[in-house]
């Protein structure tokens, strides 16, 4: 699936690298900008399928890119946004996921571009409307030490399912990953929701949001 992707990244080398990578997977990049101010203009001009943006960018050199991404999701409800970050901080992921847009959304560590196939896969999934959360961020949430850990109640298999759910995988994808049937996955998810007291077992963004906000408590 060839996508039209607008890239925002302040480092010239990294920008060229990202464009090259995306083009190697058959996508086109109509615009690649270097700061958070030029990003909305480029999106308005080119109407891309997906925006790939860095978190830390000029003008403020703090989380300008992330805030631009949140604003874009707000302004263009169908737009898919994939954010690249140097930090496995769940607070950033939560900020990005917070406003519910209809388009796909992803938060990946910059390290992930080294796993070129996984990265390319994530790009396609986000463009298709899925939610993708970096495995490192999810691992950090799941391995967090708690005085009373409700996750102790889960079986090892249920923990695996929860991890993949938190990363944004759909039921079919989870089933493929764990080499089980769709029905088995649905049963595990039902158990997890019951044990953790979560409500709403529907697929997609809202489920990821529910799981992540539960884990961040």
């Amino acid at each position: 699936m060839a996508l039209r992707i607008v890239v925002a990244e302040d480092s010239v080398l990294m920008r060229a690298g990202l464009v090259g990578l995306l083009e190697a997977f058959g996508h086109t990049v109509p615009a690649a900008v270097g700061d958070a101010v030029a990003l909305p203009a480029a999106v308005a001009e080119h109407g891309p399928d997906l925006v790939l943006t860095d978190v830390r960018m000029p003008p403020g050199n703090t989380d300008d890119g992330l805030r631009a991404a949140v604003a874009l999701r707000d302004a263009h409800p169908g737009l898919a946004v994939l954010v690249l970050s140097q930090h496995a901080a769940t607070a950033y992921a939560a900020e990005l996921l917070g406003p519910a847009g209809r388009g796909g959304v992803g938060y990946l560590l910059k390290d992930r571009i080294g796993e070129v196939s996984e990265f390319a896969d994530a790009v396609v999934r986000v463009a298709a409307g899925e939610t993708v959360i970096d495995p490192d961020v999810v691992r950090q949430l799941l391995t967090r030490q708690r005085v009373v850990d409700p996750l102790d109640a889960l079986t090892p298999r249920e923990r695996e399912v929860l991890t993949l759910m938190a990363e944004g995988r759909a039921n079919a994808s989870i089933a493929r990953e764990l080499v089980v049937g769709d029905a088995a996955v649905a049963k595990h998810i039902g158990n997890i929701f019951a044990k953790l007291g979560l409500t709403g077992g529907e697929d997609g963004h809202r489920r990821v949001l529910a799981v992540l906000s539960y884990l961040r408590r």
């Binding site: 830390r56 050199n61 930090h87 571009i113 070129v116 967090r144 005085v147």
Partner: protein, 407 residues
């Protein structure tokens, strides 16, 4: 008027003298005397004023006889350059006090001390009366009508009269030395105002150092973020692309590339940890509560957080508070064998108050733990306070209180 003529013979003939150039020459001579004297004084005066400087230095050294702890030098350290040095010294009150002291030292003080020593000398000679009498050197002493000239009388006189008197004199001498040293100190030490100014200068320079330190940390973090982190990500990407080009059955070459890829990933996570330790970006972007939350997510011991601040304090306060929590949590993990850590923070009357309590074995000491000591210093720079309460057996409580706003 002949050029060989001199003043005195010419004066003998008043009419000729008064018409001659001599009165004018005399007048000119007299007028130039004070001018030259003035020039001489102006040339010598600075040197004269500066006489106090070496005297002061020498005397402060000599004062160690009375004040072994030493006496502080009151002078400022001037900028380089002789002129600047001279101007600095002439403007300092200390220079003029030292001059005053030097004048006393050259006049009154030695006379006073010699007089006192002379009294002691007389006392000692009289104390030695018995010996002098035995030596038979025609030694005798007249006390009113009575003549002391036998050994027995001399001994009695020495023991009964001179011994107490000599002791008293020695006491008097010590009082004199003490008083003189106090006088010297009052002139050679920095005054209260000078000390106050020095403390103010030190406080300012400490503030600047801390600010520079903080700026340097941020610069290093930024350099790593913009440099090494990006380059490693690109390297990793190139290796990923190379592996993809090679395909799944690429033998030895594929193994080598996969190996290099693994090492690049390790380097990436290493640099990421390093950057977090230098200055967490999350702290800048989302503030203290979020940064401590992230600390809790990676902490191997359960952490309970109760940080309710509302708005954000100023950046240096936030940063110091974060590193205090980070250090206290690190200590609890490394040394205390704690089972849980509680971090609470709130705004209380213009201050940020943070407490980190762990249920470990305690025994932490601010004086020994260099990390906590450094943070205590950092807190002090912001006019804050760090207190560690850690009885042996636990629990350990680290409490830091910082002004909400600063800088």
């Amino acid at each position: 008027m002949s050029s060989e003529a001199t003043l005195w013979p010419t004066m003998a003939h008043p009419p000729r003298f008064l018409r001659s150039a001599w009165p004018w020459r005399c007048l000119a001579y007299l007028v130039t005397t004070p001018l030259f004297a003035l020039a001489g004084w102006l040339a010598v005066l600075p040197t004269f004023v500066l006489v106090g400087l070496p005297v002061g230095r020498w005397e402060r050294w000599r004062l160690r006889l009375i004040h072994p702890a030493g006496v502080t030098d009151p002078h400022n350290v001037p900028e380089p350059g002789r002129r600047v040095w001279l101007r600095t010294r002439l403007r300092e009150g200390a220079t003029w006090r030292e001059l005053g002291y030097a004048l006393c030292l050259l006049t009154v003080l030695p006379a006073l001390d010699l007089l006192a020593l002379a009294v002691l000398g007389v006392c000692l000679v009289l104390l030695a009366m018995p010996l002098l009498v035995v030596a038979g050197d025609n030694a005798e002493l007249r006390l009113g009508e009575h003549l002391v000239d036998t050994f027995g009388e001399a001994t009695a006189f020495s023991l009964l009269a001179m011994l107490p008197l000599t002791t008293l004199t020695v006491y008097g001498l010590c009082v004199l030395a003490g008083a003189q040293a106090a006088f010297a100190r009052s002139l050679l030490e920095p005054t209260r105002a000078e000390l106050d100014r020095r403390v103010r200068d030190l406080a300012h320079s400490r503030d600047r150092l801390v600010a520079a330190f903080e700026a340097e940390r941020r610069r290093i973090e930024r350099d790593l973020h913009d440099g090494a982190q990006q380059q490693l990500a690109l390297l990793s990407m190139s290796l990923g692309l190379a592996a993809r080009e090679l395909g799944p059955d690429s033998g030895r070459a594929g193994e080598l590339v996969a190996d290099a890829h693994r090492q690049a990933r390790l380097a990436q996570s290493g640099v990421r940890e390093l950057v977090r330790g230098i200055h967490p970006q999350l702290l800048t972007d989302h503030g203290l509560a979020a940064a401590v939350e992230e600390l809790a997510e990676r902490c191997p011991i359960p952490m309970e957080l109760d940080i309710r601040l509302g708005e954000r304090p100023s950046a240096p306060v936030e940063s110091t508070a974060y590193f205090v929590v980070s250090e206290a949590v690190g200590n609890a993990v490394r040394h205390a064998a704690a089972g849980r850590i509680t971090v609470s923070g709130e705004r209380r009357a213009g201050s940020l108050v943070l407490t980190v309590v762990d249920d470990g074995r305690g025994g932490a000491d601010l004086a020994r733990g260099s990390g906590l000591q450094g943070l205590s210093d950092r807190a002090a720079v912001l006019d804050g306070r760090l207190a560690v309460l850690s009885p042996v057996g636990g629990p350990t409580s680290v409490r830091v209180e910082l002004p909400w706003l600063c800088g």
